[in-house]
């Protein structure tokens, strides 16, 4: 029982982190028709920034502040990438993908240069390190907090998209870009805003994921395919799709790793094949990738 509870919470925590990562990827793809392959690298840079900040014992530095700072740093980096490079390739979606891949290689190697090849464990915040005991069972507190945070972010993003003016503009851009431009929406500003938002979320997710995964070279290559699969599964441009897809993949991956440790990656094929075969636009998608 204890074992299954921990696995269940692990799968939800992974799902939550995947949501923070893939929601940005999905929104960027939906709005800009851009598969941002730097997303995994953004997550890894976030994890390394978090690891550095938390291990330096800076006065007043805690996980939340570190996540905020990493989010801001990555949002700025993403904004620069969008403004300085991707903008010059507007309309050339293949060129954009290749550039994001190139930047992913650069960032990943830069991390290796700065932080070295050994994994850097990130300490769990002291207040959250002890499990909560309830009905004689232990519940790992940090996992619970990550789950709560991701749900709060999901509600916030949903409110942003559905209840605010900028959200309405983003939805208009996703659904019909030429008409959105024609009615006077500054779509290019939306591009930068959404790209910053996605990059910032990925960076913050990296910090929150630190105590679970620690920061190591190759974290980007581990996370990017999971995010891709989530988005293929859930449908591009759909927040609900990213949410449901994240928890499905989080569960399959976690329970797969526990039950069939050798074949955990292989099991990820199954939902992908089923969805692509029967519903190529994804579970919640309105547009085909």
């Amino acid at each position: 029982m204890q074992f299954w509870i921990i696995q269940f919470l692990n799968s939800l925590a992974l799902g939550g982190l995947l949501f923070l990562l893939s929601s940005g990827f999905s929104l960027i793809f939906g709005l800009m028709r851009l598969a941002n392959l730097t997303h995994g690298a953004f997550f890894m840079v976030g994890a390394y920034i978090g690891a550095s900040l938390l291990r330096q014992r800076v006065v007043g530095m805690d996980l939340w502040l570190a996540a905020l700072l990493a989010g801001i740093a990555l949002a700025a980096l993403g904004g620069l990438l969008e403004r300085l490079v991707l903008r010059r390739l507007a309309g050339n979606s293949l060129g954009q993908v290749l550039v994001t891949l190139g930047v992913a290689f650069i960032l990943s190697d830069a991390c290796l240069l700065v932080w070295g090849g050994d994994p850097i464990p990130v300490p769990t915040p002291r207040a959250l390190a002890r499990p909560i005991f309830f009905a004689g069972l232990a519940f790992p507190t940090y996992r619970l907090v990550v789950i709560v945070v991701s749900v709060v972010v999901a509600v916030g993003l949903h409110a942003l998209l559905e209840r605010t003016r900028i959200g309405a503009m983003i939805r208009a851009g996703v659904d019909d870009m030429p008409i959105a431009r024609a009615v006077g929406i500054r779509v290019s500003r939306l591009f930068t805003a959404v790209f910053c938002l996605g990059a910032g979320l990925a960076g913050a997710a990296g910090v929150l994921g630190g105590p679970i995964f620690s920061a190591y070279p190759g974290l980007d290559a581990d996370m990017l395919p999971l995010a891709l699969i989530v988005v293929i599964l859930g449908g591009v441009g759909s927040l609900a799709g990213a949410f449901v897809g994240s928890f499905i993949i989080g569960a399959i991956y976690t329970f797969g790793s526990t039950l069939f440790p050798d074949l955990a990656y292989f099991i990820l094929f199954l939902p992908m094949i089923v969805v692509i075969a029967y519903r190529p636009e994804g579970l919640f998608g309105r547009i085909a990738a």
């Binding site: 793809f29 028709r33 598969a35 392959l37 490079v85 010059r88 390739l89 050339n92 979606s93 293949l94 060129g95 993908v97 290749l98 550039v99 891949l101 190139g102 930047v103 992913a104 290689f105 650069i106 960032l107 990943s108 190697d109 830069a110 290796l112 240069l113 290559a221 581990d222 990017l224 395919p225 891709l228 699969i229 988005v231 293929i232 440790p261 050798d262 074949l263 955990a264 990656y265 292989f266 990820l268 094929f269 992908m272 094949i273 692509i276 075969a277 190529p280 085909a288 990738a289």
Partner: protein, 314 residues
């Protein structure tokens, strides 16, 4: 093929065949690596250049073929000939399955699905340690010896690779210039018209995908025989990206482009790796630079420059 390019190709072939007589072992081995990379890039070019299907998972077939060969020769006691045949069959079967699923999409969707697939196989190679030996890789793989000829020497292996390379290029060129190749280019440029004309667009793409997967499997077989070692990194995204960069840098959709691109990248990789360990970072910068500066590749760029010079003289 025009008369001039035929003469150029034959001269290059003679120069390559005689290479072991005038070059040292280092260069012979480097040339073998370049040839293997050229087969890989040429097979990918069928998809990217002629089919308009940008795959970021092509190294998966290299990996499958290499792992099948490695496992059969070291764990199952199979002879190299049987293992080689099984490796090619394995890569082709995986290509059949991947193609069925990935070709439900085109464009960025196809790119994302192929990337996800190859990353899954890459993760499998790391995790399925009882078969793949995980991060340690499989070592002590014997080289095959066709018709009893030992390929252990650098020159012997190089000649064998060169011979296979010529066969591969001829097969790929024949494919691209056939009626089927014309239909493939049709599905790239005008998929809806091709469908209206009665062509089965997905079938054409699928056959190309499988054919490209087979030749990538050949490249994988040579790769594992050259290195006598296989590691999950053989099917990493870096390897797929190197192949794609070779295709784009050389000029996609041309026969010579991927060969030129693969040569440039392997030379760059070898010489840079001798001085610094930052190959991935350089690869990233080259990617960004090619896309921003020479998006249609070196060969079309040179051809443009030549046309401009000729035009200036008139």
């Amino acid at each position: 093929m025009s008369r001039a390019s035929l003469i150029l190709a034959l001269t290059a072939l003679v120069a390559l065949a005689l290479l072991p007589f005038y070059a040292g072992e280092y260069f012979i081995n480097l040339a073998s690596q370049i040839l293997i990379a050229a087969i890989f890039a040429s097979s990918l070019n069928l998809l990217v250049g002629y089919g308009g299907l940008t795959s970021l998972g092509h190294a998966a077939f290299v990996g499958v073929s290499a792992y099948v060969f490695a496992w059969l020769t070291t764990h199952a006691g199979a002879g190299p000939a049987v293992a080689a045949a099984a490796a090619l069959v394995g890569a082709t079967i995986v290509a059949c399955v991947f193609g069925l699923v990935a070709l439900r999409a085109t464009g960025l969707g196809f790119l994302m699905i192929t990337l996800a697939f190859s990353q899954i196989l890459w993760g499998l190679a790391y995790r399925w340690a009882s078969v793949t030996n995980g991060d340690n890789g499989i070592s002590g793989i014997p080289r095959f010896s066709p018709f009893g000829l030992s390929l252990d020497g650098a020159a012997a292996f190089y000649w064998f690779t060169l011979a296979l390379c010529v066969i591969a290029f001829a097969a790929i060129a024949a494919f691209a210039s056939s009626a089927f190749g014309a239909a493939l280019r049709g599905t790239r440029d005008e998929p809806r018209r091709m469908a209206a004309l009665g062509h089965d667009v997905r079938l054409i793409r699928w056959i190309t995908f499988v054919y490209a997967g087979f030749w990538a499997g050949v490249a994988g077989l040579l790769y594992v025989n050259y290195n006598k070692f296989i590691h999950p990194s053989a099917m990493s995204i870096t390897n797929s990206a190197e192949g794609l960069l070779a295709v784009i840098a050389g000029g996609s959709g041309t026969l010579a482009g991927p060969i030129v691109g693969a040569t440039l990248i392997m030379l760059l990789k070898n010489y840079v790796s001798a001085y610094v360990e930052r190959w991935n970072m350089l690869l990233g910068f080259v990617f960004v630079a090619i896309v921003l500066i020479a998006p249609d590749g070196v060969i079309p760029g040179l051809r443009r420059a030549a046309a401009r010079i000729r035009g200036g003289r008139k």
